[in-house]
Symmetry: D2
Subunit: 223 residues, 4 copies
């Protein structure tokens, strides 16, 4: 994970249905190239392979199941994600929460497979717990701000500061990323000033009228 | 769903990792064409689009999540399955069980979207409950026989007979399919004799040394 | 289950914390005796034994886990409910939903143990599915009305009528009970006119200023 | 929590059905008094109040749900556990696993209510994650050894040593307890030598022919 980073979680918004996921990924790739900023995308699972094969920026899966390849119907083992060429996986997003034990298992197994893990947490204490599992990065996102346009860096700077502090106490080598409500340039600037090393964004970009403009705006704040 | 049918659930066996899922689908397509038998496949979700675009036989998703498109990370709404061109979805497989209320919601929504639903159940009473939801078909699979090579049609013919009877009592237009432990020609023949209209098979095919030979053997029993 | 019936689901409202659950049960018992109406209560699990031992009206558990007695930490097997003297269990309440397969297992096992089952469902189709499992009774509760004071019998009479029709089609011997938003005498009268044989009520009673007055009002509508 | 401690998890074994839970608790109380050793019990939830009111040793609930008191059917909020007089709660037992975020919420809320939390984890990394949440104590239990009679302290001393080390790194004030397969005096002695401050035991005691003898044997190893 090249820091600082802008990670675009496409979720399963209607705006990225089918081939539109690849379109968004290509815009992100183009901005990343133009600005020299590290940008990654997490498309819907049904488009994961298409996106991985269509762009050169890092691609993450939005989640994975705590199972090995085998007699499992409808599950997504890490090995199947890895095989597509994706570089990593988002785990424990507040919309896709995991049992602690499964999360521990997944982080360890992903490490063994050479997959990066971006593990989400809702608050400072839980972020510290995540850090103890030694993922590639922790993303703190207060769930009550997700999708609201009220940026965590403006509304709850204390959450970010405390998270950075607690995560550092557990393992100073784990970078903290943040998200929830991030809308514009200033939100990102502020998040970086508070000690984070990247931004996890969804609706602000996916639902923007002009993807290129919005990605450029947010990425510029990381330069 | 063209009956009688052979549905191949690829699960996430290592044998179908990556492009091998498409290979298996192509073999199934070739046998379907040669014998004039209805065969469908359910590949891993990461290969769903590739398989749909690569073969002309019906393709099913192995599962779906009870959510609408929107702010959902790592979920698979029916709309995203539909958009790939898949014709339907397997629901409530014993390895991927659903809350009753979510199952009811998914079956109704799939109907509205024009997606077929093959809903699994472990026993006769539960199969009857499923039939009341009016899916495209019910698949009865005693979980203790799945993957064992002990065919449900040989080991527990009573389960099949009773399921057909109870499902007919609730809604005679819902076909019953069966699975679990199906290994060879005679297992399929027997299942059809007991009143079912198709077979759901996984390990017997996926783990066969010769995919073409095994699919041909099972499909021949449906002619 | 003596029909028509008024079942009071105490949930875990602060109003029934600790010994107050028994107080409410005693008021219900007193009204049942005075009016000769069938009334049952479902207290918080921590008070189940105390309430069973303290009143003579039927007592239900608010839920159960799909496990047999044994090496299970923090679970509630049906056998432990039965042993307290409770007569039955509410299953699949929309606040405590069950996997279809687990629900099928629990209903069958409760039958074997001589425990009654009141199984909730959110809509007519799901109610029909529940009826196929042959519980003691089905309770249809549109989740969007629960706790609103907008009675299902006034707001969605079509849901009740359709549920009664579909359940009858599956198994005419299964009584339908209803709930959600029931507040007063007229709501109950209407529900009975629409073909149901009882009422499942929570907040209207638990949060009433005068428990006796509210229980009397609703019970009178069942005479 | 008075250390070192012997905590008896009764689970929902048939041996502690109904009033037998109180019997076992009384034997534990009697041994605790005779030997001057700290012993606690965790009875089935249906017997929690009876046991709390019947003995003077500390009583724990076997689990709790991540909800506040209110419109929740079949749940167990911490407040309802507290009200019985129980001193704490076991969380995230491998038979009753919790979402990481729910676990974080429960530990924080229990602290606010003055309830102790004994949080289980399957391995060293997950134990360290738990320690970051600042529970009263961490219990490391490799799930593959639970109920086997193969004591973790004999079979996997490395797991205990590494857990103590990692937990200390995160927060040296959190005691580590261990369990899984503990059968006799030597198993307990060994666990203490490896740096733990207590034992969580279930089947070895519950299924012993003579409860008093077995509790005495294990408690003696803590003197």
């Amino acid at each position: 994970m090249k820091l600082p980073i802008l990670i675009i979680n496409m979720k399963v918004y209607p705006e990225v249905l089918g081939k539109k996921a690849l379109e968004l990924a290509k815009v992100a790739e183009s901005v990343a190239r133009d600005l020299g900023v590290s940008i990654a995308v997490a498309p819907p699972i049904t488009e994961l392979r298409t996106v991985v094969e269509g762009v050169e920026i890092p691609v993450y899966a939005q989640g994975a199941d705590p199972v090995e390849p085998g007699a499992r119907t409808g599950h997504i083992p890490l090995e199947f994600i890895k095989e597509t060429g994706a570089v990593g996986v988002i785990l424990n997003h507040s919309e896709n929460r995991l049992l602690l034990n499964d999360l521990g298992w997944l982080v360890g197994r992903a490490r063994g497979l050479g997959l990066e893990t971006l593990v989400c947490a809702p608050d400072p204490f839980t972020s510290a717990a995540v850090a103890a599992l030694e993922p590639t990065a922790v993303a703190v996102e207060p769930p009550e701000l997700i999708g609201t346009g009220k940026a965590v860096s403006r509304e709850r700077p204390d959450v970010i500061v405390r998270t950075v502090e607690l995560v550092r106490g557990v393992n100073p080598s784990i970078p903290v990323i943040t998200g929830a409500g991030i809308e514009g340039f200033d939100d990102v600037k502020k998040a970086i000033e508070l000690g984070t090393q990247g931004i996890l964004v969804a609706s602000a970009i996916v639902k923007a009228r002009d993807w290129r403009q919005k990605i450029t705006e947010l990425a510029n704040a990381l330069r």
